[in-house]
Amino acid sequence: MHNLLQILTGTGSAAGKEMPVKGTLKLAYKLLVNDTAKFSALLLGIIFAVFLMMFVTSMFVGVLNHASATVINIGSTIWIMDPAVQTVSNTVGMPDYVLDAVRSMQGVKYAVPLYSGGGLAKLSDGTYQSVSIIGLDDTSLLGRPELVEGKIEDIYAESGFIAVRDAEFSKLEDPHIGSEFELNDNRGVIVGIAKVATSGLYGTPTLYTTYERAVQYLPNPRYTISYVLVEPKSAADVQRIKQQVEALGYLALTKEEFMQRTADFFVYKTGGGTNMLIMVIISFMVGLSISGQTFYTFILENLERFGALKAIGAKSRDLVGMILFQATFTSFIGYGLGVGLSVLLIWLAKLRLPSYAAMLSFGNLAIGLAMVSIIAGISSYAGIRRVLRIDPFEIFRG
């Protein structure tokens, strides 16, 4: 803790030589942490607020991440789609000529089709299970997952499918190589087990197969290409490709743009973003009311001491510095503990529920940090106003 104080005050050891901690800040630190009960109450308020905020936003980030699972797992640089597509899961088929047209565009190194859809698998015990089917380009297998069992070329074997070992794997009765199932009365055989970076949002197991087999097995509308995956010749060609695709009447997005488009759908068109915002505001209000009030009470209880310091000869800026330090120190310790608690609980939840969607990102951490900074600012502002108004004569008079 002492070292942390030195880091926070910027007066710690330099080149191994111990330097003194600035006295008034150390005084503020001792007045704060030596009042264990009050300091604990302050920390609890911040921890609770940060935990609430982290949990809500991490859940949302996790949902957004899972919603873009296919984009992340396939990993193509450019995705071409119908402009009506809002999320990667809601595909709108494109005619075959789009693929040919894209392949002839300037700046395109290669372009392949991708099928993305859903089906109903009949398992060996006679039950049915919804599955997500990804059909990879037969020639290149672009976007193929990393196999943990089996060989990728077996995907070309008769009725070959690769099952993804993710949180939903068990819903396919924990298949192994050779396990069989039916898909629209067609026989399917598991020829490999894969792992992917992110599992899907909708709680359905994922099967990879070839594009041709996917469109053959699953009932399809007139157009079958879900996406055209494009690799540009160079980064500079991305913009040119996007313009050419737009001229064709379709939409080309980079991987990041497609993830953002998916996220935007959930944030702005499902009410999810509003709910998250409300929860963030509520956690902020909870944190502010608990910590702000406790900190203000702490200041009031120490008003006499601050008055004594003022009478002895402390300048206003010394007192302001002390209060700011106390508020900032408490807030950042509380922030660290709150983040730690969130990480711990998310980790514990994932042990129990592998598909648990919560996920901490730098964005979460930044929002949390901004929130505690505002709480620290408001709390100290109220305290500073009060302390600056103390008349040392009142202290003198007793």
């Binding site: 006295g23 009478a311 000869g313 300048k315 004569f393 007793g398």
Partner: protein
């Protein structure tokens, strides 16, 4: 001829407004010299503490001036006035105002810390002052574990640690029994007072009058009588 430590002229201070307005100081003139221990005595409400606060740079008068050595203190801005109090004045408050969450030595070190002196060196220096006031070995305990007399000694050590020219003591025996009060003031008179220091004490405890070099009687906001005492 003793040097003048504090010179106050025409001090006026009032509180409240309209019908509630009361005048606490009425054209008070005062001189205090180095080497003397001046008592300001009088009944409650006579303006003793108000006068002490005005003299020490705590409370601004509505009229008049205070000169401490060559500084007209009420012409200073807030920061310079705080600096003046820190460097020139040592305060012993009526209720001590010690910090219960700090050790005794840390309490004493506060003026040095406010003067931006390094923490550990300040505490070490404070321990020396605790020894002077007879509290050797009590440096590490919090002041709440000390008796009233010992807390008063801590307050005196804190007032002395920055070696001020002027020591201000407000009702120093108010929280102490008679014997302890006598012992404290006797100690101050013998060990703290010297030719380069002026001590101003506000009290209405007649048991400690014997330690004064001069007693100023205050009544209804005016200094009414001066009693010279022989040096002890």
């Amino acid at each position: 001829m003793p040097r003048v430590a504090i010179q106050a002229k025409g001090l006026v201070k009032w509180f409240g407004e309209g019908e509630a307005k009361t005048t606490a100081l009425k054209e008070v003139d005062l001189e205090a010299y180095f080497g003397e221990m001046v008592y300001i005595v009088g009944p409650s409400g006579s303006g003793k503490t108000t006068l002490l606060s005005v003299l020490s740079g705590i409370l601004k008068p509505d009229a008049g001036s205070v000169q401490v050595e060559d500084i007209a203190i009420w012409t200073l801005d807030a920061d310079r006035l705080a600096e003046f109090r820190l460097n020139k004045i040592g305060f012993v408050f009526q209720d001590f105002h010690l910090f219960p969450r700090l050790t005794t030595a840390e309490n004493v070190a506060i003026p040095l810390i406010l003067k931006k002196k390094e923490w550990d060196a300040s505490v070490r220096e404070a321990e020396g002052y605790l020894e002077i006031v007879g509290l050797k070995g009590r440096a590490e305990i919090p002041p709440v574990k000390l008796s009233g007399g010992e807390q008063q000694r801590v307050a005196i050590a804190r007032a002395m640690v920055s070696q001020p020219d002027i020591l201000i003591m407000d009702e120093p025996t108010a929280s102490l029994d008679g014997d302890t009060g006598n012992a404290i003031l006797s100690f101050v008179r013998k060990n703290i007072l010297n030719e380069n220091r002026c001590i101003v004490v506000v009290t209405h405890d007649s048991r400690i009058y014997e330690f004064a070099t001069r007693i100023l009687q205050m009544e209804d906001g005016r200094l009414t009588r001066t009693t010279e005492k022989s040096a002890q």
